[in-house]
Amino acid sequence: MTITYALNEIEKAAASFAGYLEESGMKVVIFNAPMGAGKTTFITQVCKVLGVTSVLSSPTYAIINEYATAANGPVYHMDWYRLEDEHEAIDAGVEDALYSGNYCFVEWPVKAEGLLPAHYINAHIHIVSETERRIEFNLS
């Protein structure tokens, strides 16, 4: 599936994406995109749709951010950019998050792809222009 969105309409795109996510029954989503494409920004909006009540921020340094929701369980927002390999990912506790049954959004998944569950949603964000992005996603 593909959604093209203007940056000032990102809430709408995030809501459609969250709808797809809930219908699919998938809990883990990986995001591939160059730096500056807006991975954190898009995930932040999706988290808001999912009812996250915590302050959202970039997980680059923390590796795993855990957000509380009003009604559902926690949401995990991860960034594997700083990890060297799967061992470091395991040490950082990413498996606990991935297999918790809660929503997990993973930026820079390439560092530890082997740890991902059998099925997840694979999303790519493309920079169309300074004001426009295109997100493509499918089941893996």
Binding site: S54, I64, A92
Partner: protein, 341 residues
Amino acid sequence: MANIILAIESSCDDTSAAICADGKILSNVIASQAIHEAYGGVVPELASRAHMQNLLPTVNAALKKAETELGKPLSFTDLNAVAFTQSPGLIGSLMVGCSYAKSLALTLNIPLIGVHHMQAHVLANLLSDPAPEFPFLCLTVSGGHTQIVLCHSPLNMEILGETIDDAAGEAFDKTAKLIGLPYPGGPLIDKYAQSGTPKFALAEPQIPELNFSFSGFKTSVMYFLQKQNKENPNFIGENLNDICASIQHHIINILMKKLVKAVKQTCIKNVCLAGGVSANSGLRNAFKAAGEKHRFNTFIPEFQYCTDNAGMIAITAYHQFLAEKFENLSVSPSARAEWGK
């Protein structure tokens, strides 16, 4: 004898141990190559396994150093409390410090103190001489955090503003990556900036109230570089110093605008910096200049208390000790803990 506290910090990449006696730091040891050489190991890169290897030698080194400072023998049985970083941080890393502190508290039958890492960054300023008087404002800037905190008393703080996406340190490191500097490139930006002039205008985000945003700034740097590279493929190489100076200027400008706004809103005259990014020379200068211009007193902790360190955990634990704010042994660490609301 004084109240002696051992503090452990293991929230992120560095393992650190400190000893404090009646609020005075006797030792503040951060695991380094030297400790590993002394014990015949290597420094692992990241995460909990590294903390497990580092912790005991680091605690021993902290005890030894404190002994020298005290001028008399010091052993575990002299400790009156043990403190650890409870949150926020990497859960696996926090767990190592927490388990160690718990076992020590149980064995020695002494109080256990859980410390919030961000609160500790702020209170690192109490280790300065002179220390700021309460109430004071603190701008905490590090790789993972950017916050303006109003500190009423040691254990009463309020977050006035914080980042809604990337932290300031992350903005330095990621824009450095965009210009091809090795990661983490924040310190390199500072270095090159010193020989450049901030002649390139970059878009600064307009965020309401006292909150920060650096994600959009990072993207505007990316567009700027793409545009310039199209016209001149050697643009970055030919203008590295000026690009770094411009990036640094804008990041600091974003920080200072909000800090000055907070000073004006609160009318507080004592203002502190904290966190690893307070090592940035441009930020230190801009902070002092803002203090002169807007007439507030400026405080910056010694460098060893700016980056992640157990000294700041110890001074915070000392105040919790006085207030008898202890944890029981069932306490667990938390990757993320909201506070100051």
